[in-house]
Every structure is written in C-alpha cells, then in structure tokens.
Assembly symmetry: C2
Homo-oligomer: 483 residues x 2
C-alpha cells in the first residue's frame, strides 16, 4: 500500500466507524502534512481518493469535510446496546441499563434520575457563563484549586444563611457534583473492611461506592412514611464499630420521605453520643413544595460531625457538575482528598454559577420550579390511580421528583422494566436500590418532566402491563433473589 | 437578644470572618424576610444596626453591600498557614505545603507543578467558552454523560490521528482532568493488597492514590538519562503478581526523561507477554521541543493493554479540568467507574475545548508555546550553572517544564525548601517524589514561567543558600529517613 493509500485508508476507517461524523472537518492539507510528515502531494492524493469515493467533500475556502451521507449506514444505531429479550440480569448491569435509557430521546424517561432539562434556566445560566468566562482570567486556575472558588463558596454560605444556618466559608469544599463529595467523604471516613450504615432502600451510587471501597455495610430500613428507623440505627451503633452513616434525610431517593425536625435532631444526638459522622446527601434540599426551607440534619449538629453534601445539578444546572460539601471538622482532610483525586472543579462552571447566584434571580426561579414539580406530582399520582390495578400504592412527597410505587404482588419489577422498554418506556425497578435484590414489587417513577399526553399514555401502558400477569408476572422470576 | 439583634449578629460574624467580603451584596430585604420568616421591619432594624456600625452600606436602587473596609483587619492573612520554622515534617504534609505555595502570588513559584497561566490562550479559549455556552442547551446534560461529549471525543481522536495513531472515539472517556483518569484506572485494575509497579522518583499524586487505594507497590528506578529500568521491571514481573504499571513515559515528572521509541516498544512487548496493563500518564505529550510529536507507549500497543491518559490542563486550559483516557480494552469498565464517581465532566468546559480545538488555532498556539518553553529551559539551566555550586547537576529535557537538580551532598532539600520559603521562593524538594523519603539531595525546579529578573534573582538566592552549609546542611537533617 502506498503512503497516500494508507492515509486514505486510515481516514476512511474513521469515517465508516462514525468517529468522524458527517459534516466533521478533516485536517487541513497543511496540518496533515505536518502531522504525518508527508508532502502536500501525498495528502492531496489521499483526499482526492476519498473525494472520488464520495466520503469527503471540499468546500471552497473552508477545507475538507466528511460527506453528509458518508458512513451513516455503518453507524451503530443508538438502540442496539439495549437488549429487550429476557436474560440473566445482575443488579449492577441493571443499574447501567436503567441509567443509559436517558440517552434515548424516544424512550419515555420515567426511570430517569434526572429532572427534565426544559425546567432549568439554562439560557440565563448560559448568559452568566458567557459573561464571566469571555475574558482573560490569568488567575482562574489558581482560584479554582481546593477548597474551590471563593466567590462561589461565599454564595453557598449565604444560601445557608438564608435558610437560617451559619456555615463558614472555610468549611465548604467545591466538588465535581455532590456524588464526588459523597464518595470522597466515605473514602475518608472508612477503610476497606470498616462498617458504615446505609439506608434500605438506598441510592444505587451509594451501593456502588461501597463495593468499590470494599466497605462492610449495615442497612437500616427507611419507611416511606416514617423515614429512617432510628431504633435499628441505635442497635447497629451498639453492635458494630460503625465508622459513618450515609443518609439522605430529606426527599429521600427513592422513597421521597423526609425526616421531620424532631427526628433529625434525634438522629444527630444519637450519632453524637457515639461520635459517628453523618454523610448527609441533601441534593434535593431546594426542591421543597412547602413555603419554608427544609432543615438538614446539619442544622442540629453541634460537634462538626455532619458532612452536608449539596449540588446545583438537581436545582439549577445539571451539566455543570458543581456540588459541595460543608464538611464540619473534616473540611481539611476532605480538601486534601480533593487535591489528590480530581484537583479542582471546573472553573468556567464555578464562575458561572457564582455569577448566576448573585445576579440571576435564583430565588424566583426556584419558586417557579417548586410549583411546577408539585403540580407534576399531582398529575403523576392522579394518572397512577387511574391506570394501575387497585392494590397499587404510590408515595406522595413534600419535595423532589420521585414516587416510590408498591406494585401488586404478582408484578415483578424487573420483568416490568423489560416489558416497558419494549413499549418505549423506562422505569427504575426496585431491586437496583438494594444490595440483595429486595424490592422486587416496587419501582421508582420520575415526575420531573412537564405533564403531557405522552406521559399520560406511558403511565396507562405501565398500568396495563401490571394488570397483565402473563407479561410481567413474578412467576416468570428472573435470577434475582427475592428479599 | 431580640430577633433583629440576632439577625444582625449572625451577619456581622460572617462579615468579621471575611466570609462576606468587602463589596459583597447581602440579601435583599424581601429575600431576607422570606428566608428568616421575619417581617420587613425586623430586617430593616437589623440592617440599620449594621449600617450604624459601618459594616454595611446601602446603595440607592442596588441594595445593601458589605462596607469596603469592614472586617479587613480581621481577615486571615494569606501567609499565616505556612510556618517557616524548622519542625517535624512528614512527606504527605510536605506535599501540601509545596502545593499550596502556588496560592501565594508573592512567592516565586519554582516549586510549582503548573505552567504560568500567562502562557495560555485564555482569552481565545474564553471566547470559545462564551460562544458555545451562551445559548440554551437543553440536551447539554445528557450529552456530557459518560463516556463524555462526543464532539470533544472526536476532536481528541483527530489529534491522535494527526500524530499518526488510530484511536477510536469509543475508546475515549472524558474525565475531570487526567488525574481522575489515572486514579480511576488504578482503582479499576487493582484491589487493596494487590501489587502495582510505579516509578522512583514518581509524581506524588501517584503515591497518594496508592496509599488511599491501599495497594502494594514495587518501585522501579527511573534514570534521568536512560529512563525506566526495564530489567528491574522484568524482574518485578517475574517475582510479583503485578496488576498494573503506572508510568510517565515522556517528559517524566520530575526527571524530564523520555523513553525512546525502541524502549517504549520493548516496554509494551514486555507487559504484553505478562498480560499486564499500563496506565500511561502522558500529560506533557504536547510540550515537545523537537519538531515531531513524541509517540506514547500506546502507539506500540496491539492488545488494548495501554490506558493512555491525557489532559488539556498542561497545554491549553488549566482551570477547565478536562482530561481523558484512551482506555483500550478497559474502556467499558472505566466508563462505568466514571458514572459512579463524578458522573460527567463539566459540560461548559467540554464544549468550550471542543470548539477551540476545531476553530481556535491550537497547532499555532502549541508551536509558540513549545518555543517559549525550550527558551525558558535554556535560561533556567544557564542561571543554575551561573549561581549554583560547581558540583550541582540539572537535567536538560526534550519537553515539559521541569528540571531535576542533583544538589551537592551537603545540601538537604527539605532544609533548603524551608530556607527558600523564608526568602519568598518555593522549590519541590526531592523527598516528595518517593514513598520512603529518598532523593534528599535532589529538587525539582519549574521553568514554566517566562524568564525575568525576579526569577534570575530567585535562582541566585537558591544557589547562595546551597553554598551556605549552615543554612540548609544535611547535618541539620530533619526527621525524614535518608534513602
């Protein structure tokens, strides 16, 4: 193969595979000469060959581009990775299958963990982003280093103040989303083999983190109405050398339940007596439907034992990936951990959000968002009551955007997940929220999307599937062990 | 204390501590009423009290702001955390002491790990950031999810192509800087107690990650001229169940050495025979002084065993925190790990860099940067030869921005670090680059800042300190164990 043929072959492989998609610019002749150490003639011959095959096109004074139709037939179609046949399932794979449904615009996202992007003030946040990042910022890298951009940490401290809490700026560490704050905190507080207490059901990322960190866990039940079972916690603290608790105390995912103030106080007091830190996942805090802010357990903390983890991903700007920990007495160690894992959070996003918080009208936006979510909850619960079998129960929450649905006993939610996907609908089946495959007759539904005929129809379809024992019956049970 | 007094007290504490700095806007009366559930009269009385004390000021039609002078005397001064007295030192603390010197603009940053921000095209990258993030992007959150923004992954694939390598887009996972790619890879490949091979000397973040992941390590020597000792590696692979190697094969930090092509080929072949993956830290790859790109070990990989980790932090936009892994056969597992630790990299930064790579003139900028760094190396080596004792040796590198300096035997680099800090100069003392406190007579100097009289004077001061045995003599040895 001659040199220009080899070059043409390399490029055509990329185009066929879709790595260079239709419309993409390919290197200029000058750049290509430099990159491959070949003469302009070689590059021209290679490009001429590709042009003859219809794979690329020259545009006058613009350079070469991949042809509109080129390679399209060979592109992987977005749906192929998701099998809809019954098959062996493990919980970890199932989590990713559920997560990845969000990529498919054609799938109704009732299993999604995210709010509808349409609800966010992305244009206004984008305006802040453009404004503060358009100019030169020589110091921007240094400013963003741990514990994070001070302008943003001040704004976060101010929001705590507005909710009646005094949290010093020094205690706040900016992270790449709350998930980083949570996993770094767990890693900080517990070594492999140590015991930490988690919820059952719990957020699946907590399960994954615990597996990765090789921790031992004690699960305490979270009742959809009462919340965390503090008696079970007291017992666990007696029996085990617990290093930390990882709890979501408000608008719990997946149940939606919130511990009331007196129980939060009791939780903090109990942990203080045992000197056990609380990693408090509070990412839905701003999404309260009532008029008043919901107090985190952190509010009652007098010993610096609560690491309060928050985020702008659920209430302002999801793709920006800005979260934080108000880390109490652990702030210094968490800052060091951040230095050594991802260094700083992305500076354009930190600056953009700080500017938006100061000038963008956050309070006004949140007010509107909360009303919308409360309305969407009513619409979802109403649809469930209309379309699902009579012995279905769905939780009503004071905030957030999830309902935890107890299905009739004959329904297996993993079977339902598969059957629903065949109908273009995602759900979050109960077993992904526990380590042992419990909650087979439960599912989490997302009402974070504006209500529509499409959603109504999807809930109707789910209801019909649940009524049809042959489609998603527990008797067809997959390999997941019942709780 | 009355309600308005309590409110005033809370605010004044924040102002005194500097959490609300001079000029910061404080909540509007309306927002404050809502937040604290008090009447406008209460808020007005609180603000009136603070205004009377000179702590805040009203600006017509703008609201209330912290007074310019308020609290300034009480602010922590930036230098206080850094003791310059001799004291007990442990390596981990020392690393953070070195890292944090970069925050102090008045300290000459010869110990810094970063390039001068002045060398980067921040204005042009900022223009891209403003352009692509100014408008609404409903899908931006979904687009940024693992494996990352496809537009950016295509641009990265294209850069590989320009360097003569075919790396499919599917293999590329965007991360929050290369450091995340590296630590996630190590976590993926090795469980606590497993053995991985690292370099000696090595990048201190590798040491920290290994400690956090509780891995066992075998160190193989990196010679400042020859590079990695492949015989020692072969022996380690014979003797231990090695799960991975973590190497920097080009412009190694701290020595600056680059393995030549034949030795990279030999490295890859050796690892392939043992089926051991290589985590290749290649963050300085673009900073070559010669006309041609430097091939990574990944170039020679035929088995998908090399996870090639790159970054834009060292060669384009430090504060943006965008890196990647071209993860070979481990791409799928790395993508899952990313889902479960920090989810996605920040979307505004991903979009900005993708746009810059396509339209910003990256090649032109790099060409200029490489020339500047090569010049700065000459200036630094020249100054060292003029000012340091005759028996000092400094490495000359083909890229990057570090020189690894062998000091006269009487000089202890930790003592030198302390003495230099007293003179307003930072250095990176040798012992932070190994687990056992070796390299006591070495230091790393950064030549990533444009040469200036200030730098010249700083090198002269260092040279004089090294000549003065009483100031930084090895006889005054601290508690670090000699190698």
């Amino acid at each position: 193969m001659k040199r220009y043929e080899r070059l043409a072959h390399q490029l055509s492989e990329l185009i066929k595979r879709g790595d260079l998609p239709p419309g993409a610019r390919i290197p200029s002749v000058r750049a290509a000469c430099k990159a491959w150490g070949v003469s302009p003639a070689t590059v021209f011959r290679a490009y001429y060959l590709l042009e003859n095959r219809g794979m690329i096109k020259a545009r006058p004074r613009s350079g070469y581009f991949v042809s509109p139709s080129s390679g399209e037939l060979l592109r992987r179609s977005p749906g192929t990775s998701m099998s809809t046949d019954p098959k062996t399932v493990n919980i970890s794979d199932l989590v990713f299958e559920v997560l990845k449904t969000i990529r498919h615009a054609e799938t109704v996202p009732l299993g999604s963990a995210f709010l509808s992007p349409a609800l966010f003030p992305m244009a206004r946040v984008g305006k802040s982003c453009a404004k503060v990042n358009r100019s030169t910022h020589l110091a921007s890298m240094v400013d963003g280093l741990p514990p994070g951009y001070e302008g943003l940490r001040q704004q976060i401290s101010l929001r705590y103040l507005m909710a009646g809490m005094t949290v010093p700026v020094d205690e706040i560490i900016i992270t790449s989303g709350a998930l980083e704050a949570l996993t770094l905190s767990a890693q900080l507080l517990a070594a492999p083999g140590d015991v930490i207490v988690i919820e059952k059901p719990t957020f699946y990322a907590a399960l994954q983190a615990i597996e990765r960190l090789r921790l031992n866990v004690v699960e305490i039940p979270v009742d959809p109405v009462e919340g965390h079972d503090l008696d079970a916690l007291a017992q666990a603290l007696q029996q085990h050398p617990v290093r930390a608790c990882w709890f979501m105390t408000s608008f719990h995912n997946p149940t939606g339940v919130t511990l009331d103030d007196s129980r939060k106080q009791a939780l903090v007091d109990l942990l203080a007596r045992h000197d056990v830190p609380l990693i408090e996942d509070d990412v839905y805090n701003e999404l309260h439907f009532g008029p008043d802010p919901v107090r985190p357990a952190k509010f009652f903390d007098r010993k610096g034992l609560v690491i309060h983890c928050g985020s702008f991903a659920k209430c302002l700007a999801p793709g920006y990936r800005i979260g934080w920990a108000a880390a109490g007495r652990f702030a210094g160690r968490l800052e060091h951990a951040k230095w050594m894992t991802t260094l700083s959070a992305s500076m354009p996003a930190q600056r953009a959000i700080a500017d938006y918080l100061e000038h963008g009208g956050y309070e006004r936006f949140l007010h509107k968002l909360r009303r919308e979510l409360a309305l969407q909850q009513s619409q979802m619960l109403d649809a469930i009551s209309r379309y699902f079998p009579a012995n279905t129960m769905a939780t009503r929450s004071d905030g957030g955007y999830f309902t935890w649905v107890a299905l009739p006993d004959h329904v297996d939610s993993i079977q339902l997940f598969q059957a629903a996907l065949n109908s273009g609908i995602s759900i979050a089946p109960g077993p992904i929220f526990s380590a042992d495959g419990a909650f087979r007759h439960r599912m989490r539904l997302n009402y974070g999307y504006p209500w529509s005929a499409r959603l109504d129809k999807a809930v109707a379809t789910l209801g019909a599937l649940c009524a049809d024992e042959s489609r998603c019956g527990a008797k067809l049970a997959g390999p997941v062990r019942p709780a």
